[in-house]
């Protein structure tokens, strides 16, 4: 987080998150998690020889796609200074509706339903936040219950499923097909990340989102509209959930109200681990991308070593703390702006 932004209005330099000054800390911000991931990838074959099997690598890429896709939307949300706690509910509801649409009208209907439902969920959140003025945290906490509840209602007579006879349908293939050796869900995820990167770095709305996150009141004075930012961010999260639901549901073939309980924490953890500041104003999609795979590769290594799930949890929790500690200590002691930051007017 650049220190100039704190006292001045956001400059172009700060808003794009780039600076001519190259410091170790700044490098760590963007590339720290990526470095950790590379390190882990270098060590992994020695620990788990089966890891390098092509099918295993494909599996790792495929299984994390849905987390990664939603993490793109969440990176924008957190960079704008807000959480979306409802993504788990959105994913459950969207998946249920998508399967209903598929069973009623085939692949095209399913894809349309996924995107529409995701967008609608995002609109509901945005509406609560901008029209009813409910703080994002509470609005999305509430809508988490509501979305999950609706998904439960729709599946009262049993979970929605993709019937086995559709095993060769184009819809089921979304989750299982490889193109040039790369799983389709992963390719979709890469496309979403690329689009997200362009959106964040090369468009006005992306820069405004960062500026708004770094100081909402300063952004307001520069004429950035709260409503527009909120609408953009939460609808974007909804859209990513819609896309993610497509890759998720074509992999597991089933959904009900309890699908992916705790998904929101998984996604937020990946984004924050990637280096996006919870305070807002800074977003790194590269970091998010690496963090998603850092967690899944680590998980893979632990599983391959026969570590029991209880101990897996402990290790993953510790990794989270250590990674964030490095970041925390750096900003605490190494940044020269800590004094100036203290003078920052809070909005």
């Amino acid at each position: 987080m650049s220190t100039q932004t704190m006292t001045e209005k956001p400059s172009e330099k700060a808003v794009t998150g780039r600076s001519s000054k190259v410091s170790l800390g700044r490098l760590w911000d963007t590339w720290g998690v990526t470095a950790l991931l590379v390190l882990l990838l270098l060590c992994t074959p020695a620990i788990a020889p089966g890891f390098l099997e092509i099918e295993n690598l494909q599996s790792v890429l495929r299984e994390s796609a849905y987390v990664g896709i939603v993490a793109v939307g969440m990176t924008f949300a957190i960079a704008s200074g807000a959480f979306d706690l409802s993504v788990g509910g959105q994913l459950a509801l969207t998946s249920v509706v998508t399967l209903m649409a598929f069973n009623g009208g085939g692949t095209a209907a399913a894809v349309a339903a996924a995107i529409t439902t995701g967008l609608l969920c995002g609109l509901v959140n945005a509406g609560l936040i901008t029209r009813l003025r409910v703080p994002p945290f509470v609005a999305t906490l509430g809508s988490l219950f509501v979305f999950r509840g609706i998904a439960y209602l729709l599946t009262q007579d049993g979970p929605q499923t993709l019937p086995y006879e559709h095993v060769d349908s184009p819809f089921a293939k979304i989750g299982s097909l490889n193109v040039a050796g790369l799983p389709v869900p992963f390719l979709i995820m890469v496309a979403v990340f690329a689009a997200g990167w362009v959106l964040m770095r090369r468009t006005a709305i992306g820069r405004r989102t960062l500026a708004y996150g770094s100081s909402p009141s300063a952004a307001r004075f520069c004429g950035i509209s709260d409503t527009r930012i909120r609408l953009f961010v939460f609808v974007l999260v909804g859209l990513t959930v819609g896309i993610a639901a497509l890759t998720y549901i074509t992999r597991v073939w089933t959904a009900d109200g309890s699908a992916q309980d705790g998904f929101e924490l998984k996604v937020i953890a990946a984004v924050v681990l990637g280096g996006t500041a919870l305070k807002g104003g800074k977003g790194t999609l590269i970091g998010t991308f690496s963090a998603v795979f850092l967690v899944s590769v680590l998980n893979e290594v632990l599983v391959s070593q026969g570590v029991e799930s209880a101990y897996q949890r402990i290790v993953l929790g510790c990794v989270l703390i250590v990674a964030l500690t490095i970041d925390g200590l750096r900003t605490r002691f190494a940044s020269p702006g800590s004094f100036r930051r203290a003078l920052r007017p809070t909005s």
């Binding site: 009813l132 003025r133 409910v134 509501v146 004429g223 929790g317 703390i321 970041d327 809070t346």
Partner: protein, 325 residues
């Protein structure tokens, strides 16, 4: 009277819900049922009171559900190992306090944001509880532990006694002591609080220890009800505790705390749950109603605040917003 309603906005909907239930069921107002609701609400209010401090500080603790599990396991295994009851209770509370201390230290000294720090401890503590029990129940049959939920000093169920005492203590601390003012000061502007010489780190650690302790007590109450401890108890409890506080009107951004609101929030949640069960409603409706309630309560609060404040001094005129777009 109007003043009370303004201060505690949850009062009106709560009375309304109770009135509806009194009319639509013939059992809601029975003494047995009212006591049942009050006991459940008391158990939920206890962690809520501690969490109120945390939210007033602008932070929250996601690890409390795992603390419930580990504290229960600690108490039950101590009892199974033949330790006296008092020791077992202290161990459970100690486990809670230690988890809180760990949270506080990681957050203040290592600079990890509370969300991630407590998310990590949530995962770690749950893992520890599962690893320690190896997936087995720690079953006890302890009349002493049972007293925590079934005891009736002066005819009042023990959880209600505990909640009333803790709520009074909490109210007094928030509204009448330096510590309470400090917590709110940190919540409204942490850096300003630091600059004016408050021991910010120590206060934050103290609040996390408080939340940890309440998690320990919550775990004891649950284990007292079920006469066991295991790694699966308390899943998702963190959301319950936070929901109660938010429903009670303690601002999420910190700076304001309402213990009375938290207690009413707990009462509201448990009343609705009880009512839907009395009416034999499927569980899906329970989730939806809690969610809608949360949104409605906060929307009302936000709208009223906006009316009261009129135009915020630093709000940009609409004209400027238009031109920016």
């Amino acid at each position: 009277m109007t003043n009370t309603i303004k201060k505690v906005p949850l009062l009106v909907p709560l009375v309304l819900v109770m009135a509806i239930l009194a009319v639509s069921t013939d059992t809601f107002l029975s003494t047995g049922n009212l006591e049942n609701v009050l006991v459940a609400a008391a158990i939920l209010a206890i962690p809520g009171i501690a969490m109120t401090f945390c939210l007033a500080m602008g932070e929250f603790d996601l690890s409390i559900g795992s603390t419930v599990s580990l504290a229960g396991v600690a108490c039950c295994s101590a009892l199974i190992a033949g330790q006296p009851l008092a020791f077992s209770l202290v161990v459970a509370l100690g486990v809670g306090a230690l988890i809180g201390l760990a949270n506080g230290v990681v957050i203040t000294k290592l600079g990890v944001t509370p969300f991630i720090a407590t998310l990590a401890t949530m995962v770690i503590v749950r893992g520890a509880s599962l690893a320690y029990t190896d997936g087995h129940d720690q079953i006890v049959s302890s009349p002493g532990l049972k007293y925590l939920v079934a005891g009736r000093p002066l005819g009042v169920p023990m959880p209600i006694v505990l909640a009333v005492v803790l709520a009074a203590l909490g109210w007094w601390t928030i509204n009448r002591t330096r510590f309470g003012r400090w917590v709110c000061a940190i919540g409204s502007n942490r850096e300003a609080a630091r600059m004016s010489g408050l021991p910010v780190d120590r206060i934050r650690i103290a609040v996390y220890v408080l939340v940890g302790l309440s998690g320990g007590l919550w775990g004891l109450l649950i284990s007292s009800q079920l006469q066991k401890g295991n790694g699966q108890l308390g899943l998702g409890f963190e959301l319950d505790a936070i929901t109660v506080v938010v429903l009670g009107g303690t601002a999420l951004l910190g700076g304001r705390a309402s213990i009375v609101g938290t207690v009413l929030g707990a009462l509201m949640i448990e009343t609705i749950r009880n009512g839907l069960n009395l009416l034999n409603t499927p569980p899906a409706y329970q989730r939806i109603s809690v969610g809608l309630l949360l949104i409605a309560a906060l929307a009302l609060l936000a709208l009223r605040r906006r009316e009261k404040r009129g135009t915020k001094p630093n709000r940009v005129p609409a004209r400027v917003q238009e031109s920016a777009a």
